[in-house]
Symmetry: C2
Amino acid sequence: MSEVYATRRSRLRDHFTAAGTTAALVTRPANVRYLAAAAPQGSALLLGKREDLLVCTGPPEDRPCEGRPDENLRLHVLPPNGVGAGAGAGGDAALAAADLAVAQDADSLAVEEHHLTVARHRAITAVAPGLRLGDLGAAVEQLRVVKDEEEISCLRIGAEIADQALGELLESILVGRTERHLALELERRLVDHGADGPAFPTSVATGPNSGRRGHRPTDRRVEEGDFLTVCLGATYRGYRCEIGRTFVIGTSPADWQIELYDLVFAAQRAGRESLAPGAAYRDVDRAARHVLDSAGYAEALPPLTGHGVGLEIDEEPQLAPSAMGKLDACVPVTVEPGVHLPGRGGVRIDDTLVVRPEADGGPELLTITTKELLAL
Amino acid sequence: MSEVYATRRSRLRDHFTAAGTTAALVTRPANVRYLAAAAPQGSALLLGKREDLLVCTGPPEDRPCEGRPDENLRLHVLPPNGVGAGAGAGGDAALAAADLAVAQDADSLAVEEHHLTVARHRAITAVAPGLRLGDLGAAVEQLRVVKDEEEISCLRIGAEIADQALGELLESILVGRTERHLALELERRLVDHGADGPAFPTSVATGPNSGRRGHRPTDRRVEEGDFLTVCLGATYRGYRCEIGRTFVIGTSPADWQIELYDLVFAAQRAGRESLAPGAAYRDVDRAARHVLDSAGYAEALPPLTGHGVGLEIDEEPQLAPSAMGKLDACVPVTVEPGVHLPGRGGVRIDDTLVVRPEADGGPELLTITTKELLAL
């Protein structure tokens, strides 16, 4: 297993040495975890001239839930002198790593300028004035886009857990319960079924709130006749998936509810069916968006209809009108169009799928809960 | 109520204009919320030359739980074109705000270099090349240290909620339940009693895990004879408090448990009793630390014995050996010494208190759950 991490680091090293840099400093937690198997709080990863070091602000065994660092990697634990989370976790480790880079005779260091703060960057220049600082850019994020089967397997287990939690909720009585309670109940079930925790704050939206992307649960109670939109995900071994479904409460959905549901369903299907290696991100977005657009919902549409998932819940690619790039095989993405009508509510349907070539059966659906309109 | 926010902004303006800057850009979410009453995701606050603007990436009414922005503040909502959380929330708003600063004829802009990334800083330079960028430093964090009675009242309510949730847990059967379950149960109860949510991930630590600061709950079950350490907090209207207690499971604590508990209790009391306006941060830390130190636990000690709380769970001041500065009245802090003995477990006792002058009765204890050693 640990060769995986060494291989990833070696690919990154190829990248920054080709760009003329001797060493690299990785500070974004999901990137550290991707390359080191673990990202203890406040840690920084140095890919040095002579060896790679994971710099931690405390012994990683104090935080077993954050994963065990790759054994091929040397650990460098900083002494605990007045480290405060308020002072900005990770700062000491980044400075110490820059110092260690110099000790390895590095003359240049690529840093993650999109993650490192200006203050930290200045501090590195101050502790290591001889070091030429460059930009690693989103190199690690780019490596992370295409997943290996081990990573996909973690996403698949996470999706099963989310499906189970959602399935159990649907068997319980919903009317009269608040959005907040339902969300907490779902999060408890995720953990019951083996998740590390929720992949993101669980969203439960009823009545006029339904269909809203990222709605934070309120004290509104489920009522007869409501749309109920639920969006949740599990984190499993660090990997995050998501599923979203909309239901109707009571025995007979209103006509407008059935129409809106069928429309969003058609849009979501169009998005799913357009997932293929080589498909442009914007074309997948357009496939889903076009269905809603031509029904007159252009105004109500979200900025994106899907996104990559992995060690973060929202990573590259973005399935959006202005996104550049094409899908590869083994890229997991969400397809999640929705329509929200102010004052009335709406529908959102969200799956996590893995892009696969047609020869392998086409896109692999990880979140298998039914997308029929259930009346609960 | 909204004058509070205008007054805060005006104090900040005095600060940066005195430092020779025309305008300021605030991006750290807790700082935006402090000055604008709300910090919609991805928002940035511009204190401009002619007027103040809250720049949002979407209408704030889409996120009612994040608070309503101060009505005296002009909102500037960006069009939703391909904004992706993965691309770094807040980026578009920061760039737009810099642009708006220029439109107001500002020639210089103080930014939060400890929050703004290097990449964003460069992007601002690119969109507004005529703008001289300075550093706002931790000016807003410094304003936030001393709380007004409205803020303290939010902390007090949060502490009551945490006390209630903890009190209810103690009435239930604990043996056989896992750390994860107990933590989830506590978080559900926090929300039941009116919290916005937990102030930080609830920590439940049993047996050998007990006494560990920031322990993440595992699947270990509570056993007879265990120490059980619980650390939780509620967020109420954005304000975060914390409480930590250690209990013993079963009818008769072992001698080492009673001894260790009494010692940590004495340390925590010494820390609490040293809280007074004018007391040096390091002296409060030393008061608590000294008790543990002289009992031979110097090795087992954490880097800090307390910290400020407010819109963030860990803010200034740090009560640590190398901290510089003195307490003021109306500063809420935690006092939370603990000892963890590897393989055996330990004790941690944590209160949130507000520094008050002796004439007002001395430090105000917000978290009032008993600190007697309860055998459950």
